[in-house]
């Protein structure tokens, strides 16, 4: 980001305040990332732990993909309400600056919550004051609908960014599906994630509006070998075989788009599939342990694949028990989702558990908010989900109720923004 852009972004806000005759607190946003630790922001001041649990916002790829999965999620899908291309471009820059600050543990704007006088609404909503950065990551994506005629982006739509097909047994709610843009906020503290999305949404009023959003807790996959495998709401370890940050070759093969994949602006980016999967918790809980384990294909206790002894033992799909019956049944979830069964195809999962209260007939409105990154959704997620939707024994207990797809552009430098790749 150049300082000129920075002051423009900040300038808008300051001048709005000046309308009310207030003294603007004009600490320019420029270099905000580097400014972490200056001490003007309460979140980082005097908190040794806070200074260490930040995730670098900058890099070849966006943070929040292979970053060790944080404990909490706030995911928002937004529609662009303006037809003004320039306003959209400007918002993406403003968001980048704001994300740079918030992921460093700072308020969304300097002196945001309390430093701007008594007669203006605070520039930062304030609920993250006193909280450490909590490994906050903010990750942005562009939905297929952004590439219609409105912003002259039709020619930039990546062929990988398909409109997802309707899979068997989908029961999709339009109010939980789609979106021109998405913001994924992950943090160890739910309030930090909620704060980040809330403030970005606020910056976007007049340009974007929230189409749907989802809170998640209890990460349900691990993206790093440093992490224990968490459990999903079925009580099973989920994500044992996930792609891990420590596997650069696999990531290069399965997750990161390259310039050769086309389009060039997506090099270093990835494709995000978001699915809201309702789980029928109550009927699952009445399933026998043996039945549950056969449906998943793993033991509930250790998470070992059936027929093996320890969680990280490799799946062996060719082991038979008495009578030659496959120990991992033909319709077991792990068999159908395994790369062995899918010609080597894998995805990087980053899902979260959710409970959205109850459904009105006394059952938990709960499930898994599935987030997965892959290099080409046409070749990875789609065939995997086709196999699962039509054959997976677990489909009896789950229902896909929301669906969205986004192109996640590459990461930014200290000078560039989320607008650059798209509008270059």
């Amino acid at each position: 980001m150049t300082s000129a852009e920075g002051s423009r972004a900040e300038g808008t806000r300051v001048s709005r305040r000046k309308l009310f005759g207030l003294a603007g607190a004009g600490v320019a946003l420029a270099g905000a990332g580097a400014a972490a630790g200056i001490g003007i922001d309460k979140a980082t001041s005097g908190n040794a732990e806070a200074s260490t649990n930040t995730v670098d916002f900058h890099g070849e790829h966006q943070a929040g993909i292979v970053t060790p999965a944080q404990a909490n999620l706030h995911f928002a899908a937004l529609d662009v309400t303006t037809k003004d291309r320039e306003k959209l471009r400007q918002l993406l820059k403003t968001w980048t600056d704001a994300a740079r600050r918030m992921t460093a543990g700072q308020e969304v704007v300097a002196n945001g919550a309390v430093g701007n006088g008594a007669y203006a609404p605070p520039g930062d909503t304030g609920e993250a004051l006193d909280l450490p950065p909590s490994n906050l990551t903010l990750t942005i994506g562009f939905g297929p609908s952004l590439f219609d005629g409105r912003f002259g982006l039709a020619g930039k739509r990546p062929p990988q960014l398909i409109d997802l097909p309707l899979f068997p047994k989908d029961k999709l709610d339009p109010a939980r599906s789609g979106g021109d843009l998405c913001i994924q906020a992950c943090a160890d503290d739910p309030q930090v994630a909620v704060h980040a999305v809330r403030n970005l949404v606020r910056l976007g009023f007049g340009v974007t509006e929230v189409r749907w959003s989802q809170l998640g807790f209890g990460r349900s996959s691990s993206t790093s070998r440093e992490q224990q495998t968490p459990r999903n709401l079925f009580g099973f370890k989920d994500g044992t075989n996930n792609i891990k940050a420590e596997e650069p070759d696999v990531l290069g093969d399965q997750v990161w788009a390259t310039a050769a994949d086309g389009p060039a602006w997506m090099a270093g980016g990835s494709y995000l599939v978001a699915r809201r999967i309702r789980m029928h918790i109550e009927t699952w809980d009445r399933e026998t342990l043996d039945g549950q384990e056969k449906i998943i294909g793993r033991t509930k206790g250790s998470g070992a694949p059936l027929g093996q002894t320890a969680e990280f033992d490799e799946l062996d799909l060719d082991v038979g028990g008495a009578g030659g019956e496959k120990v991992i049944p033909e319709d077991a979830h792990v068999r159908l989702a395994s790369h062995q069964a899918l010609n080597g195809v894998r995805i990087l999962r980053r899902g979260y558990n959710f409970v959205d209260g109850s459904d009105g007939v006394g059952h938990l409105e709960a499930g898994l908010f599935f987030l997965a990154f892959n290099r080409d959704t046409r070749k990875q997620y789609v065939p995997m989900q086709q196999a699962l939707s039509s054959k997976d024994a677990m489909m009896e207990y789950v229902q896909h109720t929301g669906s969205a797809h986004f192109a996640v552009p590459p990461g930014v430098t200290r000078e560039s923004s989320w607008a650059d790749a798209l509008f270059s």
Binding site: P165, P168, K169, K171, H280, E282, T283, D285, R286, E287, T288, D290, G291, E293, K294, I295, T299, G301, S302, A304, G307, Q308, T309, D313, D316, D318, V319, G320, G321, A322, G323, G324, E325, P329, D331, A332, G360, V361, G362, H363, Q386, S389, S390, K391, D392, A393, M394, M395, E396, Y397
Partner: protein, 381 residues
């Protein structure tokens, strides 16, 4: 409904295995530790099958197979009569693979490597000691229960075949109103025996797939296709053919059910599975998207569940009389709610149910499903 086919299958298939084990009262930790002496090493080549031990104590035996040959191989442990106790296929040259086999009974067994994955393999004798003596077949009560349930199935499948024939004739004759009236009445017999129907992987979808669950390139056939024709679009050019196919498929199904051998655990799991269908498909009105005759199906699922439990009643009464009285009470509660929704010789349309009534049904079904889910464990004791 067909969406629910797979888990029932998986569970039922699993249950069959469980029953074998339960019969000799020796079900042990499925996660399984290795046998007493640690893993038994198997060195497989294209011409030899060296096993590091030829005796072991009963329990979980772990074989570690290394393929030192040039051909892909397999390893088997056979009981007498070449009954497979465990196997591992597709062991590529140079690879190590593991096979954990639960062997409860002392006796003579055989190991086998099959280089090239064909033939009877390179055999070796293997002796298992200790364990428990093999008991005679499971107790007579369970045998009686499965026989009694088989009769229930036979009665319903026979009615299903007759009623489906009449229903198909009405469709083919273009008698739409009469066919509509026959639709829900015919399906009752299917919904009652659904866990059994679901054992036949191809037939159940052909007969009972819902439009929303069709897979790409899957033809929409069966009851719900005719439901759509009758209640939504009007009869189509091929409605008659669909009706004929339904008759054929049902006939196949009925023939196949006659050969089915069910275990007491199958009954228990089937009874529970039927209520799960109610909880996730009928309560929400998803099953009968065009005719809204979900309450008919609801009643039929409850009937089928009760049919299985009735057959198991002597077994349950002997082992857990308190569970039986709980089940009686909760079945009666659900039935009481259903009775309030009767209209003529059938039921009101799902669309006439209020949200409060749906909720009342859902909690009654939950209250019944919880004790029902305990039946399998009681039966397996």
């Amino acid at each position: 409904m067909t969406v629910r086919k797979t888990p029932a299958l998986a569970v039922l298939a699993g249950a069959a295995v469980l029953v074998t084990l339960a019969a000799c009262d020796s079900k042990s930790d499925p996660a399984g530790a290795a046998g007493d002496g640690g893993p038994i090493k198997v060195s497989a080549s294209d011409t030899a099958c060296e096993v590091s031990a030829t005796t072991a104590n009963a329990g979980n035996l772990t074989f570690e197979i290394t393929n030192k040959g040039a051909k892909v191989t397999e390893f088997y442990l056979y009981a007498e009569g070449d009954r497979i106790m465990g196997e591992v296929e597709n062991i590529a040259p140079g690879l190590n693979r593991r096979l954990i086999v639960e062997v409860a009974d002392a006796g003579k067994y055989q190991t086998a490597c099959k280089p090239g994955m064909s033939g009877t393999g390179i055999r070796g004798d293997f002796t298992v000691t200790g364990g428990v003596a093999k008991q005679n077949d499971s107790n007579a009560q369970k045998a009686q229960a499965t026989k009694s349930y088989a009769d229930y199935i036979a009665n319903n499948t026979s009615a299903l075949q007759d009623e489906t024939g009449k229903f198909a004739d009405l469709v083919k004759a273009g008698k739409v109103d009469e066919a509509k009236a026959a639709y829900a009445r015919t399906r009752v017999y299917y919904e009652r025996i659904e866990p059994v129907a679901e054992k036949f992987g191809d037939l159940d979808p052909a007969i009972d797939v819902r439009e929303a669950d069709l897979e790409p390139n899957q033809q929409f056939t069966g009851f719900h296709r005719l439901e759509k024709d009758l209640f939504k679009t009007g009869l189509q050019a091929d409605s008659g053919q669909i009706a004929d196919k339904l008759v054929t498929d049902v006939k196949d199904l009925v023939a196949k059910t006659k050969t089915l051998e069910l275990s007491a655990l199958d009954l228990a799991n089937g009874a529970k599975g039927l209520l799960d269908e109610v909880a996730t498909g009928k309560i929400t009105g998803e099953e009968e998207a065009f005719s809204h005759t979900d309450v008919w199906d609801f009643q039929a699922n409850v009937d089928g569940s009760k049919g299985a439990i009735t057959a198991l009643r002597p077994v349950l009464q002997a082992k857990d009389p308190a569970l039986v009285s709980t089940l009686d009470k909760e079945f009666a509660n659900v039935q009481g709610l259903l009775d309030k929704q009767r209209a003529g010789d059938g039921f009101k349309s799902y669309t006439e149910l209020s949200q409060d009534q749906v909720k009342e049904f859902a909690s009654a079904v939950d209250a019944l499903s919880e004790p029902l889910s305990k039946v399998a464990e009681v039966v397996s004791k």
